[in-house]
Subunit: 123 residues, 2 copies
Amino acid sequence: MEEITNYRCTVSVTLDIIGGKWKSLILWQLSFKTLRFSQLQRRLSKVTQKMLTQQLRELERDGLIHRKVYAEVPPRVEYSLTPMGQSVVPILQLMCQWGKDYLIATEQSAAVECAPTLKRIEV
Amino acid sequence: MEEITNYRCTVSVTLDIIGGKWKSLILWQLSFKTLRFSQLQRRLSKVTQKMLTQQLRELERDGLIHRKVYAEVPPRVEYSLTPMGQSVVPILQLMCQWGKDYLIATEQSAAVECAPTLKRIEV
DNA sequence: TCCATTAGTATCCTTTTTGATACTACCATA
DNA sequence: TATGGTAGTATCAAAAAGGATACTAATGGA
């Protein structure tokens, strides 16, 4: 006799919503502060405009982020976490810590920071 | 003036290792007990043999799971978490809880369980 | 002798994801 | 008048991921 699953695992519910290559990183950046589209794009250095737009739309649809459009020219759009989005932050914090520990354990721990080590630049 | 990142975010280190469609779910199943290949495959109902093999190889390479081959016929291979793999479990537990809360908050909470609700079958 | 079993490989093909590029509107400034 | 800046869309092409199928070894049992 053996046990078998005929249930919907809630880990995979979470993966459906914050999984993928970009969503966690977007939420993680927004957990520090509200950001504009272009600021997010600079922080996620490898993301293309198309991907960022797509992922933001999905996060908005799923109720994790809020999109605020200012009626200005040039356009300004600010993204921030909703309460639902805030509730993901503890998971991200654990992931951040685990990643650090992993790098240390595997001796790759050179020059890594969890929160931005920042260089100031002109905007 | 604005802050910009020139660092390697450790959230993305974690994503590189346990991200993707299957790895978290594999680790989650193995957190309950050591499982054979075919047992894992049955628990991850949608995974193909190819995908499961591939993901297990990567998890083994990254030091999260242990692969024990028994010299028997037909072959028997058992997968279990290493200490490094165990250290991921708290993240998975949070994800499990978050998924549950999300379903409740969005009123989709019918018939969902985090740990297997089990039906016994012949093996 | 033939079949079932397990844990895979190998191959080919399809689907999905991702990337690159060009284009838009609107206003301010040089 | 031309240029720059923001936050996008639209389109096509390339790359990656995933799926289907066939195949393997070695043994026990019908």
